[in-house]
Protein backbone atom coordinates (compact mmCIF):
# COMPACT_ATOMS: atom_id res chain seq x y z
CA UNK A 1 0.00 0.00 0.00
CA UNK A 2 1.40 3.37 -1.00
CA UNK A 3 -1.08 5.67 0.66
CA UNK A 4 -3.38 4.99 3.51
CA UNK A 5 -5.39 7.58 5.38
CA UNK A 6 -7.33 6.65 8.49
CA UNK A 7 -10.14 8.88 9.61
CA UNK A 8 -8.54 12.15 8.50
CA UNK A 9 -10.08 15.34 9.82
CA UNK A 10 -9.21 18.87 8.92
CA UNK A 11 -10.84 21.58 10.92
CA UNK A 12 -10.45 25.29 10.44
CA UNK A 13 -11.34 27.59 13.28
CA UNK A 14 -12.27 31.07 12.15
CA UNK A 15 -13.24 33.18 15.09
CA UNK A 16 -16.26 31.52 16.64
CA UNK A 17 -16.93 29.40 13.59
CA UNK A 18 -15.34 26.03 12.97
CA UNK A 19 -15.25 24.60 9.46
CA UNK A 20 -14.74 20.91 9.02
CA UNK A 21 -13.11 20.69 5.61
CA UNK A 22 -12.60 16.96 6.06
CA UNK A 23 -14.67 14.74 8.31
CA UNK A 24 -13.01 11.40 8.67
CA UNK A 25 -11.65 10.46 5.26
CA UNK A 26 -10.20 6.97 4.94
CA UNK A 27 -8.81 6.01 1.57
CA UNK A 28 -6.19 3.66 0.24
CA UNK A 29 -4.10 3.96 -2.89
CA UNK A 30 -1.98 1.22 -4.39
CA UNK A 31 1.32 1.86 -6.06
CA UNK A 32 0.86 2.47 -9.75
CA UNK A 33 -2.79 3.43 -9.50
CA UNK A 34 -4.40 6.17 -11.58
CA UNK A 35 -7.05 7.82 -9.50
CA UNK A 36 -9.45 10.73 -9.70
CA UNK A 37 -11.04 12.66 -6.89
CA UNK A 38 -14.30 14.42 -7.68
CA UNK A 39 -16.91 16.31 -5.80
CA UNK A 40 -18.68 19.62 -5.63
CA UNK A 41 -16.89 22.84 -4.84
CA UNK A 42 -16.01 23.09 -1.18
CA UNK A 43 -16.26 19.33 -0.63
CA UNK A 44 -12.66 19.17 0.59
CA UNK A 45 -10.81 17.89 -2.48
CA UNK A 46 -8.00 20.38 -2.30
CA UNK A 47 -7.76 19.96 1.44
CA UNK A 48 -7.32 16.23 1.02
CA UNK A 49 -4.75 16.69 -1.73
CA UNK A 50 -2.75 19.06 0.43
CA UNK A 51 -2.72 16.53 3.22
CA UNK A 52 -1.66 13.73 0.90
CA UNK A 53 0.97 16.03 -0.56
CA UNK A 54 2.34 16.82 2.91
CA UNK A 55 1.76 20.52 2.36
CA UNK A 56 -0.51 20.54 5.36
CA UNK A 57 -1.11 18.37 8.38
CA UNK A 58 -4.36 16.84 9.51
CA UNK A 59 -6.20 17.97 12.61
CA UNK A 60 -6.93 14.39 13.48
CA UNK A 61 -6.38 10.95 12.04
CA UNK A 62 -3.49 9.14 10.52
CA UNK A 63 -1.75 9.30 7.20
CA UNK A 64 0.68 6.61 6.19
CA UNK A 65 2.80 7.16 3.12
CA UNK A 66 5.13 4.40 2.01
CA UNK A 67 4.79 2.72 5.42
CA UNK A 68 5.79 5.90 7.22
CA UNK A 69 3.46 7.88 9.46
CA UNK A 70 3.39 11.44 8.15
CA UNK A 71 1.27 12.66 11.03
CA UNK A 72 4.18 12.97 13.46
CA UNK A 73 6.73 14.54 11.14
CA UNK A 74 8.39 17.86 11.74
CA UNK A 75 8.82 20.65 9.21
CA UNK A 76 12.10 19.46 7.77
CA UNK A 77 10.91 15.87 7.42
CA UNK A 78 7.79 17.07 5.63
CA UNK A 79 9.93 19.15 3.30
CA UNK A 80 12.03 16.10 2.60
CA UNK A 81 8.96 13.98 1.80
CA UNK A 82 7.56 16.70 -0.44
CA UNK A 83 10.84 16.80 -2.27
CA UNK A 84 11.43 13.07 -2.62
CA UNK A 85 8.06 11.37 -2.66
CA UNK A 86 5.65 13.87 -4.09
CA UNK A 87 5.25 15.75 -7.31
CA UNK A 88 2.59 18.41 -7.09
CA UNK A 89 0.84 19.89 -10.12
CA UNK A 90 -1.32 22.93 -9.46
CA UNK A 91 -4.25 24.43 -11.27
CA UNK A 92 -2.40 27.73 -11.59
CA UNK A 93 0.90 26.09 -12.62
CA UNK A 94 2.87 27.84 -9.90
CA UNK A 95 6.07 28.28 -11.87
CA UNK A 96 8.69 30.84 -10.89
CA UNK A 97 7.99 33.66 -13.34
CA UNK A 98 11.57 34.88 -13.69
CA UNK A 99 13.12 31.47 -14.20
CA UNK A 100 13.37 29.52 -17.43
CA UNK A 101 11.49 26.27 -17.92
CA UNK A 102 14.72 24.41 -17.37
CA UNK A 103 15.45 26.17 -14.11
CA UNK A 104 11.91 25.65 -12.88
CA UNK A 105 12.28 21.95 -13.48
CA UNK A 106 15.70 21.87 -11.85
CA UNK A 107 14.39 23.40 -8.67
CA UNK A 108 13.41 20.23 -6.76
CA UNK A 109 16.86 18.81 -7.51
CA UNK A 110 18.51 21.89 -6.02
CA UNK A 111 16.78 21.24 -2.73
CA UNK A 112 18.08 17.73 -2.42
CA UNK A 113 21.64 18.64 -3.23
CA UNK A 114 21.96 17.06 -6.66
CA UNK A 115 25.11 18.13 -8.48
CA UNK A 116 24.84 20.72 -11.23
CA UNK A 117 25.54 18.31 -14.06
CA UNK A 118 23.10 15.62 -12.97
CA UNK A 119 20.58 18.31 -12.28
CA UNK A 120 20.79 19.59 -15.81
CA UNK A 121 20.50 16.10 -17.25
CA UNK A 122 17.56 15.26 -15.01
CA UNK A 123 15.74 18.44 -15.86
CA UNK A 124 16.30 17.95 -19.58
CA UNK A 125 15.06 14.39 -19.40
CA UNK A 126 11.93 15.45 -17.54
CA UNK A 127 11.25 18.19 -20.08
CA UNK A 128 11.71 15.71 -22.92
CA UNK A 129 9.24 13.38 -21.23
CA UNK A 130 6.60 16.09 -21.59
CA UNK A 131 7.73 16.98 -25.13
CA UNK A 132 9.15 20.36 -24.19
CA UNK A 133 12.82 19.79 -24.96
CA UNK A 134 12.66 22.63 -27.49
CA UNK A 135 11.29 25.17 -25.01
CA UNK A 136 13.82 24.71 -22.22
CA UNK A 137 15.08 28.26 -22.17
CA UNK A 138 11.73 29.95 -22.35
CA UNK A 139 10.29 31.73 -19.39
CA UNK A 140 6.73 30.95 -18.27
CA UNK A 141 5.33 34.11 -19.87
CA UNK A 142 6.76 32.95 -23.19
CA UNK A 143 4.84 29.67 -23.02
CA UNK A 144 1.20 28.74 -23.62
CA UNK A 145 -0.97 27.55 -20.75
CA UNK A 146 -0.65 23.94 -21.83
CA UNK A 147 3.11 24.28 -22.14
CA UNK A 148 3.31 25.84 -18.70
CA UNK A 149 1.37 23.00 -17.21
CA UNK A 150 3.70 20.55 -18.91
CA UNK A 151 6.67 22.36 -17.41
CA UNK A 152 4.96 21.98 -14.03
CA UNK A 153 4.47 18.29 -14.69
CA UNK A 154 8.11 17.92 -15.65
CA UNK A 155 9.01 19.59 -12.37
CA UNK A 156 6.77 17.17 -10.53
CA UNK A 157 8.45 14.26 -12.31
CA UNK A 158 12.04 15.22 -12.04
CA UNK A 159 12.75 13.64 -8.68
CA UNK A 160 11.04 10.35 -9.57
CA UNK A 161 8.46 10.75 -6.84
CA UNK A 162 6.23 7.97 -5.56
CA UNK A 163 3.09 9.95 -6.33
CA UNK A 164 2.10 12.70 -8.69
CA UNK A 165 -0.70 14.83 -7.32
CA UNK A 166 -2.61 17.16 -9.60
CA UNK A 167 -5.24 19.53 -8.23
CA UNK A 168 -7.46 20.52 -11.14
CA UNK A 169 -4.52 20.55 -13.55
CA UNK A 170 -6.76 21.43 -16.47
CA UNK A 171 -8.88 23.97 -14.63
CA UNK A 172 -7.23 26.88 -16.42
CA UNK A 173 -6.96 25.21 -19.84
CA UNK A 174 -9.25 24.83 -22.83
CA UNK A 175 -10.61 21.45 -23.84
CA UNK A 176 -8.01 20.62 -26.46
CA UNK A 177 -5.14 21.50 -24.18
CA UNK A 178 -6.79 19.63 -21.32
CA UNK A 179 -6.77 16.49 -23.40
CA UNK A 180 -3.14 17.04 -24.19
CA UNK A 181 -2.37 17.27 -20.47
CA UNK A 182 -4.46 14.23 -19.67
CA UNK A 183 -2.48 12.34 -22.31
CA UNK A 184 0.65 13.23 -20.41
CA UNK A 185 -0.82 11.84 -17.19
CA UNK A 186 -1.95 8.76 -19.03
CA UNK A 187 1.59 8.28 -20.28
CA UNK A 188 3.02 8.73 -16.81
CA UNK A 189 0.63 6.17 -15.49
CA UNK A 190 1.64 3.75 -18.19
CA UNK A 191 5.24 4.27 -17.17
CA UNK A 192 4.28 3.05 -13.71
CA UNK A 193 3.75 6.31 -11.83
CA UNK A 194 1.03 6.70 -9.25
CA UNK A 195 -1.18 9.59 -10.28
CA UNK A 196 -4.00 11.27 -8.36
CA UNK A 197 -6.01 13.92 -10.16
CA UNK A 198 -8.64 16.22 -8.71
CA UNK A 199 -11.14 17.29 -11.35
CA UNK A 200 -14.59 18.65 -11.93
CA UNK A 201 -14.92 17.11 -15.35
CA UNK A 202 -16.40 13.68 -15.73
CA UNK A 203 -14.66 12.89 -19.01
CA UNK A 204 -11.29 13.60 -17.43
CA UNK A 205 -12.14 11.42 -14.45
CA UNK A 206 -13.22 8.73 -16.87
CA UNK A 207 -9.65 8.38 -18.06
CA UNK A 208 -8.67 7.03 -14.65
CA UNK A 209 -9.04 3.61 -13.08
CA UNK A 210 -10.94 4.67 -10.00
CA UNK A 211 -12.92 7.69 -8.93
CA UNK A 212 -13.41 8.80 -5.33
CA UNK A 213 -16.35 11.14 -4.80
CA UNK A 214 -16.19 13.54 -1.88
CA UNK A 215 -19.11 15.42 -0.39
CA UNK A 216 -18.99 17.69 2.63
CA UNK A 217 -15.59 16.50 3.60
CA UNK A 218 -16.33 12.81 3.51
CA UNK A 219 -16.07 10.03 0.94
CA UNK A 220 -19.46 9.68 -0.72
CA UNK A 221 -18.70 6.80 -3.01
CA UNK A 222 -16.00 5.09 -4.98
CA UNK A 223 -16.28 3.90 -8.54
CA UNK A 224 -13.81 1.33 -9.83
CA UNK A 225 -13.60 0.51 -13.50
Amino acid sequence: MLIETRDLWKTYVMGTETVHALRGVSIQVERGEYLAIMGPSGSGKSTLMNLIGCLDTASRGEYILNDRAVSGMNDDELAFVRNKEIGFVFQTFNLLPRATALHNVELPLIYNGTGAKERLEGAKAALSAVDLADRMNHKPNELSGGQRQRVAIARALVNNPSIILADEPTGNLDTATSEEIMDVFEKLHERGNTVIVVTHEQDIADCTQRIIYLRDGAVEKEVVK
Binding site: N50, G53, L55, D56, D75, D76, A79, F80, R82, N83, K84, F88, F90, N94, L95, L96, R98, L107, P108, I110, Y111, N112, G113, G115, A116, R155, N159
Partner: protein, 414 residues
Protein backbone atom coordinates in the same frame (compact mmCIF):
# COMPACT_ATOMS: atom_id res chain seq x y z
CA UNK B 1 25.10 25.78 3.95
CA UNK B 2 27.43 24.32 1.41
CA UNK B 3 29.58 26.38 -0.91
CA UNK B 4 27.56 25.24 -3.87
CA UNK B 5 24.34 26.32 -2.21
CA UNK B 6 25.92 29.64 -1.44
CA UNK B 7 26.78 30.08 -5.07
CA UNK B 8 23.25 29.06 -6.01
CA UNK B 9 21.89 31.63 -3.59
CA UNK B 10 24.17 34.35 -4.88
CA UNK B 11 22.92 33.70 -8.40
CA UNK B 12 19.36 33.92 -7.09
CA UNK B 13 20.14 37.12 -5.20
CA UNK B 14 21.68 38.64 -8.29
CA UNK B 15 18.54 37.82 -10.24
CA UNK B 16 16.36 39.37 -7.57
CA UNK B 17 18.47 42.53 -7.53
CA UNK B 18 18.41 42.77 -11.30
CA UNK B 19 14.65 42.44 -11.30
CA UNK B 20 14.42 45.59 -9.17
CA UNK B 21 17.44 47.59 -10.23
CA UNK B 22 16.45 51.04 -9.07
CA UNK B 23 14.99 49.81 -5.82
CA UNK B 24 18.08 47.78 -5.06
CA UNK B 25 20.31 50.71 -5.84
CA UNK B 26 18.38 53.08 -3.61
CA UNK B 27 18.41 50.50 -0.88
CA UNK B 28 22.16 50.10 -0.89
CA UNK B 29 22.80 53.83 -1.09
CA UNK B 30 23.25 54.12 2.66
CA UNK B 31 25.71 51.27 2.75
CA UNK B 32 27.45 52.72 -0.28
CA UNK B 33 27.88 56.11 1.38
CA UNK B 34 29.01 54.58 4.64
CA UNK B 35 31.69 52.44 3.04
CA UNK B 36 32.80 55.13 0.58
CA UNK B 37 33.21 57.55 3.49
CA UNK B 38 35.34 55.07 5.41
CA UNK B 39 37.54 54.17 2.47
CA UNK B 40 37.98 57.74 1.31
CA UNK B 41 38.69 59.15 4.76
CA UNK B 42 41.07 56.37 5.70
CA UNK B 43 42.93 56.98 2.44
CA UNK B 44 43.21 60.69 3.11
CA UNK B 45 44.21 60.28 6.75
CA UNK B 46 46.82 57.73 5.82
CA UNK B 47 48.14 60.08 3.19
CA UNK B 48 48.36 62.76 5.87
CA UNK B 49 50.05 60.31 8.20
CA UNK B 50 52.74 59.58 5.73
CA UNK B 51 53.66 63.14 4.97
CA UNK B 52 53.39 64.12 8.65
CA UNK B 53 55.59 61.28 9.76
CA UNK B 54 58.19 62.21 7.17
CA UNK B 55 58.08 65.81 8.26
CA UNK B 56 58.42 65.05 11.91
CA UNK B 57 61.14 62.52 11.31
CA UNK B 58 63.08 65.11 9.33
CA UNK B 59 63.50 66.95 12.62
CA UNK B 60 65.82 64.16 13.62
CA UNK B 61 64.89 61.32 15.86
CA UNK B 62 67.10 62.41 18.74
CA UNK B 63 65.92 65.99 18.82
CA UNK B 64 64.48 67.31 22.07
CA UNK B 65 62.54 70.53 22.43
CA UNK B 66 62.14 72.90 25.31
CA UNK B 67 59.37 75.47 25.53
CA UNK B 68 57.12 77.19 28.02
CA UNK B 69 54.16 74.99 27.22
CA UNK B 70 53.65 71.47 26.15
CA UNK B 71 52.43 71.45 22.57
CA UNK B 72 48.95 70.05 22.11
CA UNK B 73 45.39 70.84 21.44
CA UNK B 74 43.69 72.46 24.35
CA UNK B 75 40.18 73.74 24.41
CA UNK B 76 40.51 76.02 27.41
CA UNK B 77 43.73 77.78 26.46
CA UNK B 78 46.35 78.29 29.11
CA UNK B 79 45.56 78.54 32.78
CA UNK B 80 46.74 81.17 35.25
CA UNK B 81 49.90 79.30 36.22
CA UNK B 82 50.82 78.70 32.61
CA UNK B 83 50.29 82.30 31.60
CA UNK B 84 52.61 83.46 34.38
CA UNK B 85 55.46 81.20 33.43
CA UNK B 86 58.85 82.77 32.85
CA UNK B 87 60.11 82.83 29.31
CA UNK B 88 63.01 80.67 28.25
CA UNK B 89 66.10 82.66 27.48
CA UNK B 90 69.22 82.35 25.41
CA UNK B 91 71.07 82.02 28.73
CA UNK B 92 69.01 78.91 29.50
CA UNK B 93 70.18 77.47 26.20
CA UNK B 94 73.80 78.30 26.92
CA UNK B 95 73.51 76.72 30.36
CA UNK B 96 72.07 73.56 28.88
CA UNK B 97 74.97 73.28 26.49
CA UNK B 98 77.45 73.88 29.25
CA UNK B 99 76.07 71.76 32.06
CA UNK B 100 74.28 68.85 30.40
CA UNK B 101 76.88 66.26 29.43
CA UNK B 102 74.49 64.15 27.34
CA UNK B 103 73.68 67.08 25.11
CA UNK B 104 75.48 67.45 21.80
CA UNK B 105 74.03 70.66 20.42
CA UNK B 106 71.61 73.34 21.57
CA UNK B 107 69.78 75.62 19.22
CA UNK B 108 67.87 78.56 20.65
CA UNK B 109 65.89 80.40 18.04
CA UNK B 110 63.42 83.25 17.64
CA UNK B 111 61.14 84.05 14.75
CA UNK B 112 59.95 87.39 13.47
CA UNK B 113 56.77 88.36 11.76
CA UNK B 114 56.90 91.79 10.17
CA UNK B 115 53.76 93.82 10.77
CA UNK B 116 51.42 94.12 8.90
CA UNK B 117 51.91 91.63 6.10
CA UNK B 118 54.89 89.45 6.84
CA UNK B 119 58.56 89.62 6.06
CA UNK B 120 60.01 90.76 2.77
CA UNK B 121 63.17 89.77 1.01
CA UNK B 122 64.37 91.66 -2.01
CA UNK B 123 67.22 91.50 -4.47
CA UNK B 124 67.17 94.01 -7.29
CA UNK B 125 63.76 93.50 -8.93
CA UNK B 126 63.24 90.14 -7.42
CA UNK B 127 61.10 89.83 -4.37
CA UNK B 128 59.95 87.05 -2.10
CA UNK B 129 56.95 87.56 0.09
CA UNK B 130 56.27 86.25 3.55
CA UNK B 131 59.35 84.19 4.16
CA UNK B 132 59.79 82.99 7.71
CA UNK B 133 62.60 84.89 9.39
CA UNK B 134 64.45 83.27 12.28
CA UNK B 135 67.45 84.12 14.37
CA UNK B 136 69.48 81.01 14.98
CA UNK B 137 72.84 79.80 16.28
CA UNK B 138 75.45 77.54 14.62
CA UNK B 139 73.99 74.50 16.38
CA UNK B 140 70.75 74.98 14.45
CA UNK B 141 72.29 73.10 11.58
CA UNK B 142 72.94 70.05 13.75
CA UNK B 143 69.65 69.98 15.63
CA UNK B 144 67.45 70.40 12.55
CA UNK B 145 69.57 68.38 10.14
CA UNK B 146 69.96 71.33 7.84
CA UNK B 147 71.97 70.52 4.74
CA UNK B 148 73.44 73.30 2.62
CA UNK B 149 73.61 73.04 -1.12
CA UNK B 150 75.95 76.00 -1.30
CA UNK B 151 78.07 78.20 0.92
CA UNK B 152 78.45 77.90 4.66
CA UNK B 153 76.41 78.15 7.84
CA UNK B 154 76.90 80.63 10.68
CA UNK B 155 79.90 80.28 12.97
CA UNK B 156 80.84 81.74 16.33
CA UNK B 157 82.36 84.80 14.62
CA UNK B 158 79.02 85.64 13.04
CA UNK B 159 77.46 85.35 16.47
CA UNK B 160 80.11 87.43 18.15
CA UNK B 161 80.23 90.22 15.60
CA UNK B 162 76.49 90.12 14.91
CA UNK B 163 77.18 89.98 11.21
CA UNK B 164 74.49 90.82 8.69
CA UNK B 165 74.66 87.44 7.06
CA UNK B 166 71.81 85.28 5.88
CA UNK B 167 71.22 81.65 4.90
CA UNK B 168 68.42 81.22 2.36
CA UNK B 169 65.80 78.51 2.14
CA UNK B 170 65.75 76.88 -1.28
CA UNK B 171 62.59 78.71 -2.40
CA UNK B 172 63.93 82.08 -1.39
CA UNK B 173 67.17 81.44 -3.25
CA UNK B 174 65.18 80.37 -6.28
CA UNK B 175 62.95 83.44 -6.06
CA UNK B 176 65.68 86.03 -5.62
CA UNK B 177 68.39 84.49 -7.77
CA UNK B 178 66.80 82.71 -10.69
CA UNK B 179 69.88 83.26 -12.86
CA UNK B 180 72.66 84.18 -10.47
CA UNK B 181 74.83 82.60 -7.86
CA UNK B 182 73.43 83.95 -4.58
CA UNK B 183 76.57 83.56 -2.49
CA UNK B 184 78.09 86.93 -1.57
CA UNK B 185 75.16 88.96 -2.88
CA UNK B 186 73.55 91.59 -0.72
CA UNK B 187 69.80 91.31 -0.23
CA UNK B 188 67.27 93.39 1.64
CA UNK B 189 65.49 91.66 4.49
CA UNK B 190 62.72 93.88 5.79
CA UNK B 191 64.79 97.04 6.35
CA UNK B 192 68.28 95.59 6.69
CA UNK B 193 70.98 94.67 4.21
CA UNK B 194 72.28 91.13 4.50
CA UNK B 195 74.99 89.25 2.74
CA UNK B 196 74.08 85.75 1.55
CA UNK B 197 76.50 83.15 2.91
CA UNK B 198 74.62 79.89 2.30
CA UNK B 199 71.69 78.23 0.57
CA UNK B 200 69.87 75.28 2.12
CA UNK B 201 68.82 72.14 0.31
CA UNK B 202 65.20 71.63 -0.52
CA UNK B 203 63.13 70.05 2.19
CA UNK B 204 60.12 67.79 1.76
CA UNK B 205 56.99 69.82 1.37
CA UNK B 206 54.24 69.35 3.91
CA UNK B 207 50.86 68.71 2.29
CA UNK B 208 51.88 70.77 -0.69
CA UNK B 209 53.04 73.70 1.41
CA UNK B 210 56.67 74.28 0.65
CA UNK B 211 58.91 74.22 3.71
CA UNK B 212 61.65 76.16 1.95
CA UNK B 213 60.38 79.70 2.19
CA UNK B 214 62.58 80.91 5.03
CA UNK B 215 65.56 83.07 5.97
CA UNK B 216 68.00 82.37 8.78
CA UNK B 217 70.16 85.07 10.37
CA UNK B 218 72.44 84.93 13.41
CA UNK B 219 70.45 85.08 16.67
CA UNK B 220 72.72 87.86 18.00
CA UNK B 221 72.04 89.99 14.94
CA UNK B 222 68.34 89.23 15.25
CA UNK B 223 68.31 90.43 18.85
CA UNK B 224 70.01 93.65 17.83
CA UNK B 225 67.48 94.39 15.09
CA UNK B 226 64.44 93.11 16.96
CA UNK B 227 65.13 93.70 20.61
CA UNK B 228 62.40 92.36 22.81
CA UNK B 229 61.93 89.87 25.52
CA UNK B 230 59.99 87.24 23.64
CA UNK B 231 61.13 83.80 24.70
CA UNK B 232 63.31 81.49 22.67
CA UNK B 233 62.39 78.16 21.28
CA UNK B 234 65.12 75.70 22.20
CA UNK B 235 65.95 72.65 20.14
CA UNK B 236 68.45 70.18 21.59
CA UNK B 237 70.31 67.28 20.08
CA UNK B 238 71.33 64.45 22.40
CA UNK B 239 74.76 62.89 21.93
CA UNK B 240 73.04 59.77 20.66
CA UNK B 241 69.70 58.03 20.76
CA UNK B 242 70.39 56.07 23.91
CA UNK B 243 71.23 59.26 25.81
CA UNK B 244 67.88 60.92 25.13
CA UNK B 245 66.39 60.12 28.52
CA UNK B 246 69.52 61.21 30.34
CA UNK B 247 69.64 64.43 28.38
CA UNK B 248 66.02 65.10 29.29
CA UNK B 249 66.72 64.41 32.98
CA UNK B 250 69.76 66.64 33.02
CA UNK B 251 67.89 69.46 31.33
CA UNK B 252 64.90 69.14 33.61
CA UNK B 253 67.14 69.23 36.65
CA UNK B 254 69.02 72.25 35.34
CA UNK B 255 66.00 74.24 34.27
CA UNK B 256 64.14 73.60 37.53
CA UNK B 257 67.14 74.98 39.40
CA UNK B 258 67.54 77.96 37.10
CA UNK B 259 63.86 78.81 37.23
CA UNK B 260 63.61 78.23 40.96
CA UNK B 261 60.88 75.63 40.89
CA UNK B 262 60.25 74.32 44.45
CA UNK B 263 60.91 70.58 44.75
CA UNK B 264 57.22 69.80 45.40
CA UNK B 265 55.93 71.68 42.34
CA UNK B 266 55.66 70.37 38.82
CA UNK B 267 57.81 71.70 35.99
CA UNK B 268 56.85 75.17 34.78
CA UNK B 269 58.23 74.40 31.34
CA UNK B 270 57.95 71.55 28.88
CA UNK B 271 60.54 69.18 27.49
CA UNK B 272 59.44 66.88 24.74
CA UNK B 273 60.61 64.96 21.70
CA UNK B 274 59.24 64.63 18.20
CA UNK B 275 57.04 61.89 19.67
CA UNK B 276 55.03 64.71 21.22
CA UNK B 277 54.32 66.14 17.79
CA UNK B 278 53.31 62.71 16.65
CA UNK B 279 50.96 62.56 19.63
CA UNK B 280 49.30 65.81 18.71
CA UNK B 281 48.96 64.58 15.25
CA UNK B 282 47.50 61.33 16.47
CA UNK B 283 44.99 63.28 18.55
CA UNK B 284 43.85 65.07 15.42
CA UNK B 285 43.61 61.94 13.34
CA UNK B 286 41.80 60.00 16.01
CA UNK B 287 39.28 62.80 16.13
CA UNK B 288 38.90 62.51 12.36
CA UNK B 289 38.51 58.76 12.68
CA UNK B 290 35.90 59.18 15.36
CA UNK B 291 33.85 61.53 13.22
CA UNK B 292 34.24 59.16 10.33
CA UNK B 293 33.13 56.18 12.36
CA UNK B 294 30.09 58.06 13.58
CA UNK B 295 29.15 59.18 10.07
CA UNK B 296 29.56 55.80 8.52
CA UNK B 297 27.84 54.01 11.38
CA UNK B 298 24.84 56.23 10.89
CA UNK B 299 24.95 55.65 7.16
CA UNK B 300 25.26 51.91 7.64
CA UNK B 301 22.48 51.89 10.20
CA UNK B 302 20.17 53.87 7.95
CA UNK B 303 21.22 51.62 5.07
CA UNK B 304 20.57 48.55 7.19
CA UNK B 305 17.09 49.66 8.16
CA UNK B 306 16.42 50.38 4.49
CA UNK B 307 17.58 46.90 3.59
CA UNK B 308 15.36 45.38 6.24
CA UNK B 309 12.41 47.35 4.95
CA UNK B 310 13.01 46.33 1.35
CA UNK B 311 13.57 42.74 2.32
CA UNK B 312 10.25 42.71 4.16
CA UNK B 313 8.57 44.11 1.05
CA UNK B 314 10.39 41.56 -1.04
CA UNK B 315 9.31 38.68 1.18
CA UNK B 316 5.75 39.89 0.95
CA UNK B 317 5.90 40.23 -2.82
CA UNK B 318 7.44 36.85 -3.23
CA UNK B 319 5.20 34.99 -0.82
CA UNK B 320 3.95 32.85 -3.64
CA UNK B 321 7.46 32.04 -4.79
CA UNK B 322 8.28 30.98 -1.24
CA UNK B 323 5.18 28.78 -1.25
CA UNK B 324 6.26 27.16 -4.51
CA UNK B 325 9.74 26.52 -3.20
CA UNK B 326 8.40 25.01 -0.02
CA UNK B 327 5.93 22.87 -1.93
CA UNK B 328 8.72 21.27 -3.89
CA UNK B 329 10.85 20.59 -0.88
CA UNK B 330 12.68 23.69 0.32
CA UNK B 331 13.30 23.50 4.04
CA UNK B 332 13.03 26.47 6.35
CA UNK B 333 16.75 26.94 6.37
CA UNK B 334 16.88 26.90 2.55
CA UNK B 335 14.49 29.82 2.44
CA UNK B 336 16.24 31.51 5.34
CA UNK B 337 19.58 31.38 3.55
CA UNK B 338 18.10 32.46 0.27
CA UNK B 339 16.87 35.71 1.77
CA UNK B 340 19.88 36.21 4.03
CA UNK B 341 22.23 35.84 1.09
CA UNK B 342 20.05 38.20 -0.88
CA UNK B 343 20.29 40.84 1.85
CA UNK B 344 24.03 40.29 2.18
CA UNK B 345 24.55 40.38 -1.58
CA UNK B 346 22.67 43.64 -1.72
CA UNK B 347 24.64 45.37 1.04
CA UNK B 348 27.82 43.65 -0.09
CA UNK B 349 27.49 45.16 -3.55
CA UNK B 350 26.81 48.48 -1.89
CA UNK B 351 30.06 47.94 -0.05
CA UNK B 352 31.93 47.06 -3.22
CA UNK B 353 30.58 50.13 -4.99
CA UNK B 354 31.57 52.19 -1.98
CA UNK B 355 35.07 50.76 -2.07
CA UNK B 356 35.33 51.48 -5.77
CA UNK B 357 34.12 55.01 -5.24
CA UNK B 358 36.41 55.59 -2.27
CA UNK B 359 39.30 54.26 -4.33
CA UNK B 360 38.59 56.59 -7.22
CA UNK B 361 38.28 59.56 -4.88
CA UNK B 362 41.65 58.62 -3.39
CA UNK B 363 43.13 58.31 -6.86
CA UNK B 364 41.75 61.68 -7.91
CA UNK B 365 43.16 63.26 -4.76
CA UNK B 366 46.46 61.61 -5.51
CA UNK B 367 46.53 62.95 -9.02
CA UNK B 368 45.36 66.47 -8.28
CA UNK B 369 46.80 67.31 -4.87
CA UNK B 370 50.19 66.75 -3.24
CA UNK B 371 48.52 64.51 -0.68
CA UNK B 372 49.54 60.88 -1.15
CA UNK B 373 46.21 59.25 -0.38
CA UNK B 374 46.79 55.57 0.14
CA UNK B 375 44.03 52.98 0.19
CA UNK B 376 44.91 50.11 2.45
CA UNK B 377 43.78 46.56 1.87
CA UNK B 378 42.63 46.17 5.49
CA UNK B 379 40.31 49.14 5.18
CA UNK B 380 38.79 47.59 2.07
CA UNK B 381 38.39 44.24 3.78
CA UNK B 382 36.83 45.87 6.82
CA UNK B 383 34.54 48.01 4.67
CA UNK B 384 33.36 44.98 2.75
CA UNK B 385 32.89 42.82 5.83
CA UNK B 386 30.91 45.52 7.53
CA UNK B 387 28.62 45.98 4.57
CA UNK B 388 27.98 42.25 4.36
CA UNK B 389 27.52 42.17 8.13
CA UNK B 390 24.86 44.86 7.90
CA UNK B 391 22.99 42.72 5.37
CA UNK B 392 23.27 39.70 7.61
CA UNK B 393 22.10 41.54 10.69
CA UNK B 394 19.22 43.40 9.12
CA UNK B 395 18.30 40.47 6.90
CA UNK B 396 17.70 38.06 9.76
CA UNK B 397 14.24 39.26 10.63
CA UNK B 398 12.82 39.34 7.08
CA UNK B 399 14.49 36.04 6.22
CA UNK B 400 13.10 34.38 9.33
CA UNK B 401 9.67 35.60 8.40
CA UNK B 402 10.05 34.14 4.94
CA UNK B 403 11.29 30.84 6.31
CA UNK B 404 8.38 30.50 8.69
CA UNK B 405 5.67 30.96 6.07
CA UNK B 406 3.15 28.19 5.85
CA UNK B 407 3.34 26.58 2.40
CA UNK B 408 -0.42 26.43 1.82
CA UNK B 409 -1.03 29.99 2.88
CA UNK B 410 1.93 31.17 0.88
CA UNK B 411 0.69 29.40 -2.23
CA UNK B 412 -2.74 30.89 -1.81
CA UNK B 413 -1.34 34.42 -1.45
CA UNK B 414 -2.34 36.72 -4.28
Amino acid sequence: MKVRDLFENIVLAWGAMKANKLRSFLTILGVFIGVAAVIGMVAIVQGLNKSMAEQIESLGSNAIFVSRYKPGISINGHNEEERNRKRLTVEDAIAIKEFCPSVEAVSPSKSWWQYPDGNHAKYRNYEVSRPELSGVTPDYQIVYNLILQQGRFFNEMDMFYRTYTVVLGADVAEGLFPHEDPIGKIIMVNKGKFSVIGVAEERKSLLGKSMDNYLLIPLSTYEKIYPGDEGVWIGVQAKNNSLMDEAIDEMTELLRRRRGVPYDKPNDFAIFTQEAFMDIYRQITSAIYLVMIVISSIALLVGGVGVMNIMLVSVKERTREIGIRKAIGARRRDILWQFLVEAMAMTGSGGLLGIAFGLSVAMIINATTPLAATVSIPSMVIGFSFSVGVGLFFGIYPATRAAKLDPIEALRYE
